[in-house]
Amino acid sequence: MENTINTGYILELKEVSVSYTPGKYAVDKVNARIAPNTVTAIMGPSGCGKSTLLHAINRLHELYPGISTTGEILLKGENIFRMNPMKVRRLAGMVFQRPNPFPTMSISGNVLAGYKLNNISLNKKEKGLIVERSLRSVNLWDEVKDVLNKKGTFLSGGQQQRLCIARALALKPELLLMDEPTSALDPISTSRIEDLILELKKEYTIIIVTHNMSQAARISDNAMFMYLGKLVEYGTTRQMFTKPENKRTEDYLTGSFG
C-alpha cells in the first residue's frame, strides 16, 4: 500500500498480456499508469481487446477457461494477481454494456446485492444509509425513493444502468470500470450518465471503454487507443484529439480507418 505514496498512481499495468488461445494475444504487452480521480477512455476498433483489458483489471476475464494472463496489474501498489480475486472485484467495480439489474431483486436489493453476495450482514439502518447514499450518488434517489421495494427491472433502461452503477458504488470501490455503458441507451440517458461520470470522478477513478469518440472527448481526461491488442497510444485526451502521435490513432479518430 505504501507504493501509492511513492508513485501517485492508483493503477499500473506492466507488460499485461491476455490470450484466450495460446499464441494469440487479445491484449498484448500493455503498459500504462493511471492517476486517481481521473477518467480514462479506452478506444479502438471492435475486437482490439478493450473489453478483455478492462475485465482483466478486476480479474473477471478468469471466467473463461483456458485464458492465460502474464504481466502485472498493480492496484494501489498491490499486484491484483496475488490478491483474492473476490477482493479485487470489490475494489474494482464493473458496469456492463447492457444494464443488468438482478431480476429477482428489488431496487434496494440490487444496491445491496454486493453485500449479500459477500455475506456481509448489515442492520436495517446501515442498509438504509447505503441504499440512499449509493442511489443519491447516481442521481437516482429522487426518482425511486418511493418505490425502493419494486423490482429493479421495472425501471427504464437509463435508470437501470444508473442502478447498476449504484450497485457497484455501494461497495465503495477504488476503481469504476465501465464497458461501453451507454451504448444501449438513448441520447438523454446517455448524457445523464456522462454528467454522472464527471461527478463521480471527484471520488472515484474511472476507466471507460467507449466507441463514441465525442463521448471520450467530453468526459475523459486521458485516452488510450488500442489496436490488435496493443496499446498504440496513451496520453491526455486533448492531445490525442488535437495532435495524435500515431498514424493509426489519427486514422481512427478522423474516421478514415480501414
Binding site: 478486476n58 473477471l60 471466467l63 473476490m86 477482493k87 479485487v88 472485484r89 470489490r90 467495480g93 464493473m94 456492463f96 447492457r98 443488468n100 438482478f102 431480476p103 429477482t104 446485492a113 454486493g114 449479500k116 453476495l117 459477500n118 455475506n119 427491472t153 447498476c164 450497485r167 457497484a168 461497495l171
Partner: protein
C-alpha cells in the same frame, strides 16, 4: 403469364389450407381419448365421489360385499391412499429435487465437459428405463436391506424417476439466463456458490418450480414401482419405514377385487383431477413468474 402468376399462390394457398385442416383434425383426434376418459370417469365415478372418499380408509372386501348385497353405496374412501401418496411424494421430493437441481446446475455450467456430457446422456437414458425395472432395483437396494417394504423404498423409486426431469428443467432454465447475470454477480465480488445460490437459481425459480411440479405429476400415478416397494396398507401410515399404500395402488387393488370395483372410478377421477390441477398450476406459474 398472368395465369401462372395467379395460379402459383392459389395452389400454395390451397396447400396450406389443406395442411391446416389436417393439423386441426389430428389434434382433435388426439383429444378424443382424453375426453372419453374424463367422461367415463365422471359418469362412473360421480356416485362414489363424496366426502367419504377423503375421510375414510378403503373398505375391506367383506364390507364392500355386504353393502353390495344390501344395495347400499360402498362405504369408505381412499384416505389411506391419499396419505400414502402424499408421504411417498414428499419424501421423493426431498430426495430428488436438491440432487436434481445440483446436477442441473453442473450441467448448465460445464456444458461440454466430458463428464457433463456423460451425466446428461445417462440422465436421458434413465428417463427411458421402464418404471417396473426401477421398482425391482429399488426392491434389491432398499427393501431387502431394510428387511421390509416401506414408504421410503417407494419414495426412492419415484425419486429416481423424477431425477431426469428435474435435471433437465434445471439445466434448461439456467441456460436461458443471460451470462451477464453471472458476470454481474461475480463482478461484485460474489463467490461462485453465492452467485449460483443467490442470483442464478432465484432468477430461474419459475422454471425450476414448473419442472418440479411436472415431475411430481408425472410420477404421481405410478403403480408398478410402488407394487414392489411399498406393498400396501389398510390404514393410514405416516411412518416412512413402514409399508404404505397410495392412490394408484388402491386403484390396482380395487381392480383386482370385484366387490371393490366401483371404487376404481371415483379414485381415478380424483387422481386425474389432482394431476390436472398440478399441471395447470405449473402452466400458470411458468407464465406469471417469467422474468421480464
Amino acid at each position: 403469364m398472368k395465369k401462372t402468376k395467379l395460379s402459383a399462390p392459389r395452389y400454395r394457398l390451397m396447400k396450406s389450407r389443406i395442411f391446416f385442416y389436417l393439423v386441426c383434425t389430428f389434434s382433435l383426434l388426439t383429444m378424443i381419448p382424453l375426453f372419453l376418459i374424463i367422461g367415463e370417469l365422471i359418469r362412473k365415478g360421480y356416485k362414489q365421489f363424496n366426502f367419504d372418499l377423503f375421510t375414510k380408509v378403503a373398505p375391506t372386501s367383506m364390507e364392500a360385499m355386504l353393502a353390495r348385497i344390501s344395495g347400499d353405496a360402498i362405504p369408505g374412501g381412499i384416505l389411506n391412499g391419499l396419505a400414502g401418496t402424499l408421504l411417498i411424494l414428499a419424501v421423493a421430493i426431498v430426495l430428488a429435487i436438491p440432487l436434481g437441481i445440483a446436477t442441473g446446475v453442473y450441467l448448465a455450467e460445464k456444458k461440454e465437459k466430458p463428464l457433463a456430457r456423460l451425466v446428461r446422456n445417462l440422465s436421458d437414458l434413465l428417463q427411458g428405463i421402464p418404471s417396473i425395472v426401477i421398482g425391482v432395483i429399488v426392491y434389491i437396494w432398499v427393501v431387502k436391506p431394510m428387511a421390509g417394504y416401506s414408504a421410503l423404498a417407494g419414495s426412492t423409486a419415484l425419486a429416481i424417476m423424477m431425477l431426469p426431469m428435474v435435471i433437465r428443467s434445471t439445466e434448461e432454465s439456467l441456460k436461458m439466463l443471460p451470462d451477464s447475470l453471472k458476470e454481474a454477480g461475480l463482478a461484485l465480488g460474489g463467490s461462485y456458490s453465492a452467485v449460483v445460490l443467490r442470483i442464478l437459481l432465484p432468477s430461474s425459480f419459475s422454471g425450476l418450480f414448473t419442472g418440479a411440479l411436472l415431475a411430481i405429476s408425472r410420477v404421481m400415478g405410478e403403480t408398478a414401482p410402488l407394487l414392489v416397494t411399498v406393498l400396501g396398507a389398510a390404514t393410514v401410515n405416516w411412518d416412512i419405514t413402514q409399508p404404505t399404500t397410495a392412490v394408484s395402488l388402491l386403484i390396482w387393488e380395487f381392480y383386482n377385487d370385484p366387490n371393490l370395483a366401483s371404487l376404481i372410478w371415483s379414485s381415478s377421477l380424483l387422481l386425474l383431477l389432482i394431476v390436472l390441477c398440478i399441471n395447470l398450476l405449473a402452466k400458470s406459474i411458468a407464465k406469471k413468474w417469467k422474468i421480464q
